[in-house]
């Protein structure tokens, strides 16, 4: 009797295909698309200024392009390492970033009131961009270790991990990044199981801390001015008397976006941004160029692209195979959203002005590379969800 033999056809299993088969193509492509748009807008908003200085009008575009390529490479490297190994090594990640942060405090260069840069030859490097990610990894890793028994004591440790980095960043006068780290850490902790009573206590604590900081003069005048400028938007920016520079900037930014109307002035035609009415137009205020040149349609599409990316990240955090993955992606999501909301919000006058870049859009190598690394971590979590 012939025995039945199993068919030699083998089913394709998850293990054999390898993790790269499970890439979320949208999460991979959206940052690249947004970066491409960013290059266009950087070119548009900086060429005139560069030309009047006798420099190549592609100067910023070239450097941003290099940063994007470096970011993609860094993303690939991050994706190649199983995120669970990163999870287990979270203390190393955390400790690695501390000397960089401390170093910049001692040796760094001052830029826009924030002392957060390393000067390496012609390049500048801003370790606080990487610090955000390190804090997310560390807090997520710690909460994963102590999943289910996050008592007040352990919570204090988790807050301490974030707080220490925040303190150093604050000493670099980089209030914006400090707030971003706070939001990211809070988001991770909320998902990790922060109890409502903890939240109330922490909020009170934070509020009193802010009060003390303002009263004691630890907050710089320009930081207060920015807040005041945000609070007082009665002037429109076209009346220049009795205004401080912050109000002026804000007024010009709003005027630029408002000038865009429904469909915008057209690429390269926006007068406000092109002619340098708006300050920092290729970095922090790049959204004004989008708003003026591409109008409501362009602005809404860009916000929509970020929304789409946020949705995919949110989905990935739910699909994650382990708790660390959920927390990590949540932290990255919080970082993305707070950056987008704060940056675009500030150009439209619904958020105070801080020097936070628009992810993948603003000119700035460190931020671009850090953003791609963060996306790399998310993709890492997603593509290994079956293994």
């Amino acid at each position: 009797m012939a025995s039945l033999t199993a068919p030699r056809v083998r089913r394709r299993t998850q293990d054999e295909v390898g993790p790269f088969a499970h890439l979320d193509i949208l999460v991979l492509m959206l940052p690249i698309v947004i970066s491409g748009l960013g290059l266009l807008m950087i070119y548009d908003s900086s060429r005139r200024r560069l030309a009047t200085q006798g420099l190549s009008s592609f100067y910023y575009v070239e450097r941003q392009g290099i940063a994007i390529v470096l970011g993609l490479i860094a993303m690939g490297i991050v994706m190649a390492v199983d995120y669970r190994r990163i999870r287990d090594a979270w203390p190393l990640v955390y400790l690695a970033v501390l000397p960089l942060l401390a170093g910049v405090l001692l040796l760094g260069r001052n830029h826009n009131g924030a002392q957060a840069w390393f000067q390496i030859g012609p390049l500048q490097f801003q370790p606080s961009e990487l610090a955000k990610i390190a804090v997310i990894v560390a807090v997520a890793g710690y909460c994963h270790q102590h999943r289910g028994d996050l008592d007040a004591w352990r919570l204090a440790v988790a807050i301490g991990l974030a707080g220490f980095v925040m303190a150093i960043v604050y000493m670099q006068h980089d209030l914006g990044t400090m707030l971003v780290i706070m939001v990211c850490a809070t988001s991770v902790l909320v998902v990790a199981g922060l109890k409502p009573v903890h939240i109330v206590v922490l909020l009170l604590f934070a509020a009193s801390l802010v009060g003390v900081a303002v009263a004691s003069g630890a907050v710089k005048t320009y930081q207060l001015q920015r807040l005041a400028g945000f609070a007082d938007q009665s002037t429109t920016g076209t009346k220049v008397s009795k205004q401080n520079a912050t109000q002026y900037n804000l007024g010009q930014a709003k005027a630029a976006i408002a000038s865009g109307g429904a469909t915008g002035a057209g690429f390269g035609k926006g007068l406000q941004t092109k002619n340098g009415f708006v300050p920092e137009q290729h970095t922090d205020f790049i959204f004004t160029a989008v708003g003026e040149d591409l109008g409501f349609v362009g602005g809404a599409v860009l916000i929509g692209l970020y929304g789409l990316l946020a949705w995919r990240l949110w989905r990935i955090s739910l699909l994650s195979s382990d708790f660390f993955g959920t927390l990590l992606v949540m932290g990255v999501l919080a970082m993305l959203v707070i950056h987008v909301f704060e940056n675009i919000g500030m150009t439209m006058g619904i958020m105070p002005i801080t020097g936070i870049p628009l992810p993948f859009m603003s000119y700035g190598g460190s931020a671009i590379i850090a953003s791609f690394v963060a996306i790399g971590l998310v993709l890492n979590v997603h593509m290994r969800r079956f293994s």
Binding site: K239, I257, A258, A310
Partner: protein, 650 residues
């Protein structure tokens, strides 16, 4: 994932949706809704005029192949003048680190009084792109530091011929307009802080060379930064090019020859000092090469010189101090046009014409030269070295440079003047016909010189002496005055250019040209010549043909005849040169070495004159300098080296 976590993730999702909705809503409001009123209308802003300089015209040499001066764009780093002292110190420190220039140097540039106080101080020129970017990218690190384009005067010809001071005094330099010039030029659109030609051709042709600046009226934001396109533009234009009659290569050869002559003179023993060994000082000199056919200046050298490029971007105080120091012997002075010297025997050109025209002595009439000449009971005047030349006529008197021959002419004419004969002032008359005693009319600044006569002496005494008796005693026109004038001494003063122009007049048959150094003006945009500077006669000297022949033979003899004063200096030179040496005594100093010449002897085309202060005999220093220039003009290379003190008596 626990349900608790799921709920929390969902909660966060809701928050995110709310945030994105808020952004979209706000965007709608701003661009589609009521807040569209914020859209930029024609804003009310303060305006400011911004002047962008247009490049100055170029200066070419005669050939048009060598650019003597041209404007070049240079990127300059500037420091605002309103910075607080402390901030400035910090900024200069940072700039020093970035640019690799010492703090002291930057500080010195900042403080230089040669820079405009109305504009930000230029502290560094020719700054590379990466350094400019470092400043622009981190403006906050460099408060008050600007990067601007400047037009800087450069001297390509100087670089090409390896001579930073090439034609320095002829070209002049460009600097900030001063109060006096501003007053004169205000209605021509100059404003304080403008650059203007200060000397030489740059000043003479300022009106054509100047680039008309573009003036843009722009709007500025509260921080003073320009925003938007200019409201009004008054377009400027590029300055016109000036082609000079100067030949850069002959100019270079003249400067080299002059420098070689001066160097040689400084190894000559100063024979007036008996108690110790001293050398001639030879502090300065000049060479002029003129075209006899139109009075155009082919070369004009003045030593010591200076590099005009030192003025680019505002000369440093230190460099200016060095140029103005007494032991620098005033390198800014163009000795060819502003240097006043007794011409010595080179002046016998004039006396020879006067002597024959006023029939003191015919051209072939002999005169017995005993080696000395006595006026009344004064100690006798002698020939140089006390040599007696015996029976000589005009030709020989010029060739060997007999002083007594011409002393006697001066004395005879003085006696006629004393007797009331108008011919008594014949030397002065002919000198003025040759153009001495008045400005030549060249475009450059120049001195008039002086031809002494009884009237001048009286006025001089009146101005110089206080008591009536002293004025009277010193105001008398003595025979000695006329006798010294006859040999180009005493109170006679000429510029090297005047001497050259006079010899050019003799060489071309009597026409005295107004020398000129500009040849034509060209609009660089259309490449069309807008003006040609032609020859212009300012006088004519009538010389009888037989006299002319005798004098020509005399000048030829000075170079070629046995015993000619410059015979040794020109030995072996194939070019037929004629000339006259001069050794002009200067009270308390070593004599001025003079040589005036023209060539080719039979159909003279060029005049070459050299004068060197405190350098001794004309034959020793000036003649060899002229030989080198003529050799260079005739393609003889290498030129004959100058050996100190080889010449004959003068």
């Amino acid at each position: 994932m626990s349900d608790n976590s799921r709920v929390r993730v969902t909660m966060i999702g809701v928050v995110i949706v709310a945030l994105f909705s808020a952004l979209l809503a706000r965007l709608w409001f701003l661009q589609m809704g009521p807040d569209q009123r914020l859209a930029a209308k024609t804003p009310i802003r303060t305006t400011r005029d911004i002047q962008t300089d247009s490049p100055r015209g170029r200066i070419f040499d005669r050939t048009g192949r060598i650019v003597l001066a041209q404007d070049k764009v240079a990127w300059a780093v500037t420091v605002d003048r309103n910075l607080a002292r402390r901030t400035r110190a910090r900024v200069i420190g940072q700039l020093s680190e970035l640019l690799g220039v010492s703090v002291d140097k930057l500080q010195a540039s900042y403080e230089s009084k040669r820079q405009s106080v109305l504009k930000p101080a230029v502290v560094a020129l020719d700054v590379s792109q990466d350094k400019r970017l470092a400043i622009l990218e981190r403006q906050e690190d460099f408060p008050g530091v600007g990067v601007t384009q400047l037009w800087v005067r450069t001297y390509p010809g100087a670089a090409q011929l390896h001579d930073p001071a090439l034609a320095a005094q002829v070209l002049g330099f460009v600097g900030e307009i001063d109060d006096k010039q501003l007053k004169q030029l205000k209605q021509r659109g100059y404003i304080a802080g403008d650059e203007v030609g200060k000397d030489g051709v740059e000043a003479a042709y300022e009106s054509v060379l100047r680039g008309k600046p573009t003036i843009e009226t722009v709007e500025v934001d509260p921080t003073g930064k320009q925003v938007g396109d200019p409201i009004k533009v008054v377009p400027g234009s590029v300055g016109h090019d000036v082609y000079l009659t100067l030949d850069a290569r002959i100019q270079k050869a003249s400067e080299d020859a002059l420098a070689a002559g001066i160097t040689a003179a400084r190894t000559q023993q100063d024979t007036s000092i008996k108690d110790h060994l001293a050398f001639d000082k030879a502090p300065a000199g000049a060479v002029v090469v003129l075209d006899t056919q139109d009075g155009s200046v082919v070369a004009m050298a003045s030593n010591p010189a200076f590099p005009p490029s030192a003025w680019a971007g505002g000369i440093s105080q230190q460099a200016f101090n060095e140029l103005s120091a007494p032991d620098a012997h005033n390198p800014l002075l163009n000795r060819a046009t502003e240097g006043l010297y007794a011409p010595g025997s080179a002046f016998k050109l004039v006396t020879a014409v006067a002597s024959t025209r006023d029939r003191v002595r015919g051209p072939y009439e002999p005169y017995l030269d005993t080696g000395s000449f006595q006026i009344g009971s004064d100690p006798p005047l002698t020939n140089d070295g006390g040599v007696a030349y015996g029976s000589i006529d005009l030709q020989r008197a010029l060739a060997v440079s007999s002083d007594t021959y011409f002393y006697s002419v001066g004395d005879i004419l003085w006696n006629r003047w004393r007797a009331g004969d108008p011919n008594g002032l014949g030397i002065q008359q002919v000198a003025r016909e040759f153009g001495f005693g008045s400005k030549t009319g060249i475009e450059l600044s120049e001195a008039a010189g002086r031809i002494p006569d009884p009237k001048w002496k009286q006025e001089f005494a009146k101005a110089f002496y206080k008591t009536k008796s002293a004025q009277q005693a010193n105001g008398v026109w003595y025979p000695g005055d006329n006798v010294h004038l006859a040999v180009g001494q005493g109170d006679t003063l000429v510029t090297p250019l005047q001497l050259a122009d006079a010899y050019a007049g003799f060489a071309n048959g009597g026409t005295i040209w107004t020398p000129h150094i500009g040849m034509r003006i060209v609009d660089p945009m259309t490449k069309k010549t807008v003006r040609t500077i032609g020859r212009k006669a300012r006088g004519h000297v009538v010389i009888d043909p037989t006299v002319r022949a005798a004098m020509s033979a005399g000048f030829d003899g000075a170079v070629h005849a046995n015993g000619g004063t410059a015979e040794t200096a020109f030995q072996g030179l194939a070019v037929p040169v004629s000339g006259k040496t001069g050794t002009a005594q200067v009270y308390g100093k070593v004599a001025t070495s003079v040589f005036a010449s023209y060539f080719p002897s039979t159909a003279p085309r060029y005049v070459v004159v050299a004068m060197v202060e405190e350098a001794g005999h004309g034959a020793d220093i000036a003649a060899p300098i002229v030989r080198q220039v003529i050799e260079a003009m005739n393609g003889i290379s290498p030129v004959t080296a100058i050996h100190p003190r080889t010449g004959q008596h003068d």
